[in-house]
């Protein structure tokens, strides 16, 4: 069966250093990060990537009070992606629109807030809010977007740890190809910085970054990296079958060429480079591309001591003898946006199809020799001879791996 080609026709995002693709891209090319200090319950001061989009652009104050931060991020990104796509959501059949939002986790923020709330009342559960369940159901971030957009097609989340941003896009591609929907809004979001548990968990694991200068704290591949900076954010795309996009003369950012998702089945948290290698190779095979057809590999590297090395090993193996394949990373700028990471990091590279500029990995003052793989773009952007295809890695806990390949659209 010949499957439809699926293309990206709109981008909506909020990152700690930008609330639109153009702002985000400009900051990635100019070395501008977006990490700051913030106070968090029980832990005090932590480093985090905080987004400053205006939620009231698309929501009422009451909706903000009742809903969740993840829901707000989804709504903002959905609306921005739709605006960018040129599609008037009210003029299309909303039964045939799917919303697929990748999440690392959901519900920790709201549950923690309620426990804090009832702690003020001697833990009497009659003070527990009736909003708790609709806020914490796992489909909340997608469901809030469906309410806001009056989308009556399928709207749900994809739980896939920090691979989730890629998986939202993969799932949309599949649903479009099998004809379940005619138009999709997909990617990933995260509100994780609003709960102490994520920070405390990484700290207990010895994986929470610390640095005197917040914007230098997230430093993948640097010899002095010391862990993850947790961030919030979101990136959602509008995705369509190529024939539908062309019929309405849509702007096309790129075509989803291939993907693969697999599992390590080896450890709760430690990655497995052998499975990462398999994942990238399987994605290349599905895309019918050779390694040297990829011109940008965006790494998942989160700045943990082992994780960065293992991913570099996997990339060095898959992309050996590929002189035109550049490797970069986005987390030095924005930290780890968890469920949004894969989708946001892909967005940061998409404009390279037009300008051929590969944004750098920043904060690499002293490259870890174990991460010194060929064509790692460090601290300064470079101009590539060509950028025809991007491979976007996103990996997550419990050993989930994803590689998504997007290629420049050529009719």
């Amino acid at each position: 069966m010949e499957l439809s080609r699926i293309v990206i026709t709109g981008v909506g995002l909020t990152a700690p250093n930008g609330n639109s693709l153009s702002e985000f891209r400009s900051n990635l090319l100019n070395g501008i990060a977006g990490i700051s200090r913030t106070e968090i319950r029980y832990m005090g001061e932590v480093l985090a990537g905080i987004c400053d989009f205006d939620p009231l652009r698309y929501q009422k104050k009451k909706e903000l009070r009742v809903g969740t931060r993840a829901g707000s991020i989804s709504i903002y990104c959905s609306r921005e992606a739709l605006k960018d796509s040129g599609v008037d959501i009210e003029s299309i059949n909303r039964d045939r629109v799917g919303i697929y939002v990748g999440i690392t986790e959901h519900g920790n923020v709201e549950t923690e807030n309620e426990i804090h709330n009832i702690s003020q009342f001697d833990y009497d559960t009659k003070f527990w809010t009736h909003h708790h369940n609709p806020r914490t159901v796992a489909n909340n971030p997608a469901g809030e977007a469906s309410l806001n957009l009056k989308v009556t097609g399928p709207a749900y989340t994809i739980g896939a740890a920090c691979a989730a941003g890629n998986l939202g896009v993969v799932h949309a591609l599949q649903m479009l190809q099998i004809g379940e929907v005619d138009f999709a809004i997909a990617g990933g979001v995260s509100e994780s910085i609003h709960t102490f548990g994520i920070f405390a968990g990484f700290k207990s694991q010895g994986a929470l970054a610390d640095h005197a200068d917040p914007n230098k704290a997230s430093r993948p591949f640097d010899a002095d990296r010391n862990g993850i900076v947790v961030s919030e954010g979101g990136a959602l795309y509008t995705l369509e079958r190529l024939e539908d996009a062309q019929a309405r003369d849509a702007k096309i950012y790129g075509e989803i060429a291939g993907y693969h998702v697999n599992s390590d089945a080896t450890d709760y948290v430690l990655p497995n480079p052998e499975r990462q290698t398999q994942c990238m190779r399987a994605a290349l095979k599905k895309a019918n591309l050779a390694p040297n057809d990829i011109h940008i590999v965006n790494t998942h590297a989160t700045a943990t001591p082992m994780g960065d090395i293992q991913e570099c090993q996997a990339i060095a193996e898959v992309f050996a003898d590929c002189p035109d394949t550049y490797v970069n990373n986005t987390k030095g700028f924005i930290g780890h946006a968890m469920g949004a990471a894969g989708a946001l990091e892909l967005a940061g590279n998409l404009p390279a199809f037009e300008d051929r500029i590969v944004h750098p990995s920043i904060n690499v003052d002293s490259l870890d020799p174990k991460c010194a793989i060929p064509n790692l773009v460090l601290n300064q952007s470079i101009e590539a001879k060509r950028v025809d295809a991007i491979l976007n890695n996103s990996f997550g806990m419990l050993g989930i791996n994803s590689a998504l390949i997007v290629k420049s659209f050529l009719d």
């Binding site: 009422k60 009451k62 009070r65 009742v66 809010t129 009736h130």
Partner: protein, 84 residues
């Protein structure tokens, strides 16, 4: 507490749970849901805020007493005054 003071307490709660609403010309004799964008979840919020902020309990069988500002004042004022 007077009935007017009681109405103000209720209005202050509504201002928090329905922050988009204009409350300056709420008619006390008219049902709140007829003049404001309030749903059943919002009324649960009013009940919760009365409990949290003022220690007032409204049993489910008596939620109907909160239909308008006037009925709120009629029903809640004795409860407030019984607290002191």
């Amino acid at each position: 507490m007077s009935k007017d003071e009681c109405k103000q307490v209720v209005l202050d709660i509504i201002a928090e749970i329905a922050p988009d609403e204009e409350l300056s010309d709420v008619k006390p004799e008219v049902a709140l849901r007829e003049q404001l964008d309030l749903d059943s979840m919002d009324f649960l919020d009013i009940v919760m805020e009365l409990r949290k902020k003022h220690g007032i309990e409204v049993p489910e069988s008596e939620y109907g007493q909160l239909v308008s500002l006037d009925s709120c004042a009629e029903y809640l004022t004795p409860k407030f005054n019984a607290l002191v």
